[in-house]
């Protein structure tokens, strides 16, 4: 079965009671037992819910895993993964990661005595030098956020396995349409399902998929114990979003490439960070690792300072000024003040998240309309 067909059919059984082509939304918080202490398939919605279960089944199939778990947000999913760690242990994470993950690792996990080292994972030699005897986890994003750096997942997974580390990939940017980390040897995939999986800026969610059933059971145990689960309503909307996931991601990737090419030749634009451009340092690897597209996220630097970038993000019309990404509506933002404001300023500058950096999430609008919008905004700087 092809990807799109799976997205439509796996996890979307015809309702056995009514014949409904679309599974009902089970809003029940609790389920009746026939016998005390002997629940049937479901007992309490935190522990399991049919509507959430359908989404989990679909996303597991799309990522090529055996177990999917749906969370209230991407951060709830990421947090669940970090709860596999114990006090005294150490994580290596990429330098080009979501600001919220940076915050989780540095400000929250640290409270439990877990330490973190950030490493530029585009060069795997940097992993070796960050390794400690107590290192237990490697956390990766590719393309990275917000610099679109590309990490070789197969090589990273091999290295991590050799050192007994669990590997986690936040696959939010690439989506399983373009990259399936589990097939490359990664242990855990996490998503902000709020982004491409939902795809319509109208739900919050997180997803996690693993290819090892035992690991899946440990993570499920933590999820059930800590309770950050996705609601049935959001699960329904997320499942509905998955049905057009491939169409959206491929179309948005095509548009992003056009926007990137336009920006790359613009005299008032500095560097353009998009793995689809031949001069991007990760271009060759991305071409190999990503299937038929480079994603719909890109960043660029405008000539000027923080104020110029601020003016630009405030003056586009189709690109709306907002955090988040991955939806049908195009968004624009300034990482230094928005998505990556939770980085310490020194780290931000060290890792290349400059004040004049602007990040775009390319939506479903026609690329000519988007380019016209940027042209007008840049010309007004």
């Amino acid at each position: 079965m092809h990807f799109r067909t799976k997205a439509i059919h796996v996890g979307n059984p015809t309702d056995s009671t009514t014949g409904a082509v679309v599974p009902p939304i089970y809003v029940a918080s609790t389920f009746v037992m026939q016998e005390a202490g002997k629940p049937q398939e479901y007992d309490y919605s935190r522990s399991g819910n049919p509507t959430r279960g359908n989404f989990e089944t679909t996303i597991a199939a799309l990522e090529g895993g055996v177990r999917g778990l749906a969370f209230a947000s991407g951060m709830a999913a990421s947090h669940c993964a970090t709860m596999l760690l114990e006090s005294g242990q150490h994580v290596i994470a990429g330098t080009d990661i979501y600001g919220g993950t940076y915050r989780l690792l540095h400000k929250i996990c640290s409270r439990s005595g877990i330490s973190v080292t950030l490493a530029d994972t585009t060069n795997l030699d940097n992993l070796e030098s960050s390794l400690r005897p107590e290192t237990r986890m490697l956390w990766l994003e590719t393309p990275g956020n917000p610099l679109m750096s590309i990490t070789d997942l197969a090589a990273a997974a091999r290295w991590a396995k050799a050192h007994g580390l669990l590997t986690v990939v936040d696959n939010t940017f690439a989506t399983p349409v373009l990259t399936r980390p589990l097939e490359l040897g990664i242990d855990i995939v996490v998503h902000s399902a709020t982004k491409y999986l939902g795809g319509h800026s109208d739900l919050l969610g997180g997803a996690m998929v693993v290819s090892d059933a035992e690991l899946g059971q440990r993570l499920y145990y933590t999820q059930n114990a800590t309770g950050g689960v996705m609601s049935p309503w959001d699960s329904f909307l997320a499942s509905r979003g998955l049905k057009t996931l491939e169409l959206r991601v491929r179309e948005q990737s095509r548009s992003a490439l056009e926007v990137a090419k336009y920006l790359a030749q613009h005299p008032r634009v500095g560097r353009v960070l998009y793995p689809g451009l031949p001069d991007h340092p990760g271009h060759e690897l991305a071409t190999k690792q990503m299937q038929g597209g480079y994603g719909a996220m890109l960043s660029f630097e405008v000539q000027g300072d923080l104020a110029q970038a601020k003016r630009l993000v405030e003056s586009t019309h189709l690109f709306r000024l907002a955090v988040s990404l991955g939806a049908v509506e195009s968004l624009i933002e300034q990482p230094a003040t928005m998505s990556h404001a939770s980085y310490d300023r020194a780290d931000r500058l060290k890792f290349g998240i400059t004040d004049s950096l602007v990040r775009l999430s390319v939506g479903l609008e026609h690329p000519e309309d988007l380019i016209q919008d940027l042209e007008l905004a840049i010309s007004q700087l």
């Binding site: 799109r4 067909t5 049905k243 959206r248 189709l318 988040s324 509506e329 609008e365 026609h366 309309d369």
Partner: protein, 407 residues
């Protein structure tokens, strides 16, 4: 509710659009640019009623004909935004949303027809539309005349000084005949009779009836517009002045849609172009596959060169949709039933236009209680199968059909 103006972003609407892309209109068209609480997406306004600040504001509302919520049956922000979006996509001045396609048709016809009036239909049409006219409108003294689909001379001959409306589907269901809108509209203009096209199967992506001069366009928005088999909706589109009495009658008869459904429809419309591109591609590829299959006697699909309206379809449509009608060689109804039952991916069900592929045998699904003579009259042979291609990969739909046809 704010009045449409420059600030709210309604310049994205309809013909005055600054944007060129179909999807750009589908994503942004009709929506307020700045929404309450600065939310990027529209809120679902569930309120059944809307409050007034004081007595004077009620009087102002009545005297100044203000555009604001009063009571849900007269309109609601969640349905009004979808009406504006659908109008923008259709290139129409206005649109009215209903709880189903049938509610849209019924309200439109009841608003426009009175006892003694006549309407003329092309005879290939959705059986419930036919039933409403023959069984119900007739009770109110409205006469329905049916002429052979595509016989424009017969349609012109059927017009009398009592005729109020000419009606057709295009493409028709399930025969997929394509109507020459130029000829259809010309008859209407010649006799000063209004025209209605049910373009559910075509959608505004594939056919532009308003540009061709049709007065009213009707869709079952349950199908391609909603696109996910998870809502019911209908819409009538046209110029505002002609729709005023329809809107007013909707407020009386009450076939309005729920705010929750309206939101799902609005959400579905955002991927409308992408879905239609895949429906068109899948319909064409599946039709070509079936046309070459030894177990298949005939395929009806406007995109096939041997379809009687192929040239017209190529000239007037962007694509031909996901619906494919075909006939298995064995004339016995049970042979076709075995093909339907043999499908593993395609599910047996009425409706069409959603992401999931659906299959049905019109004789069983819609005409089981009709006599053989009536079925022959309506052109529903026992071995006819109607396949509504979803947006799955074409290879998977074809493989499914192939194994079902092999038995």
């Amino acid at each position: 509710m704010s009045q449409p103006n420059e600030k709210t972003g309604h310049e994205l609407n309809g013909n005055g659009s600054r944007w060129t892309g179909f999807s750009t209109t589908a994503v942004h068209g009709g929506e307020d640019r700045q929404k309450a609480h600065d939310a990027l997406t529209d809120a679902i306004v569930c309120a059944s009623t809307f409050s007034f600040e004081n007595t004077q504001s009620v009087i102002d509302f009545i005297e100044q004909d203000q555009q604001r919520g009063e009571y849900g049956r007269y309109g609601n922000p969640s349905d009004m935004v979808v009406e504006r979006k659908l109008a923008a996509i259709e290139g129409a001045e206005d649109g009215i949303l209903f709880s189903s396609g049938m509610a849209a048709l019924v309200t439109l016809l009841m608003a426009k027809l009175s006892a003694g009036d006549e309407i003329v239909f092309f005879d290939q049409c959705y059986h419930r539309s036919r039933e409403f006219c023959a069984k119900y409108l007739a009770r109110y003294g409205v006469i329905t005349k049916q002429v052979k689909t595509g016989d424009y001379a017969a349609m012109a001959n059927a017009v009398t000084d009592k005729t109020k409306m000419l009606v057709s589907e295009s493409p028709t269901n399930p025969h997929l005949s394509v109507i020459d809108l130029e000829k259809f509209v010309e008859i209407g203009r010649r006799f000063k009779v209004e025209t209605l096209i049910d373009a559910t199967l075509a959608t505004p992506y594939n056919l532009r009836p308003i540009a061709a001069g049709v007065d009213y366009v009707l869709h079952s928005a349950t199908k391609y517009l909603g696109g996910h088999n998870d809502l019911l909706a209908g819409v009538v589109l046209g110029c505002r002045a002609k729709l005023e009495d329809v809107r007013s009658l909707r407020g009386v008869l009450g076939g309005v849609n729920s705010p929750h459904n309206c939101y799902l429809l609005q959400r579905g419309l955002k991927t409308f172009e992408l879905r239609m591109q895949r429906h068109n591609e899948n319909g064409q590829r599946v039709a070509e596959f079936l046309a070459g299959h030894p177990a298949v006697a005939k395929v009806l699909y406007p995109g096939l060169p041997d379809h009687p309206d192929h040239q017209l379809a190529v000239r007037t449509m962007r694509g031909f949709g996901g619906l494919v009608t075909f006939f298995v060689k064995d004339p016995d109804w049970q042979a076709a039933a075995r093909v339907v039952d043999g499908c593993r991916m395609a599910r047996i069900g009425p409706s069409l236009g959603g992401v999931e592929t659906l299959i049905e045998q019109p004789y069983v699904m819609s005409y089981f209680k009709y006599s053989p003579a009536d079925r022959a009259r309506f052109g529903i042979p026992d071995n006819m199968i109607r396949l509504a291609c979803g947006v799955e990969n074409a290879e998977d739909i074809i493989a499914d059909l192939d194994q079902a046809l092999r038995g």
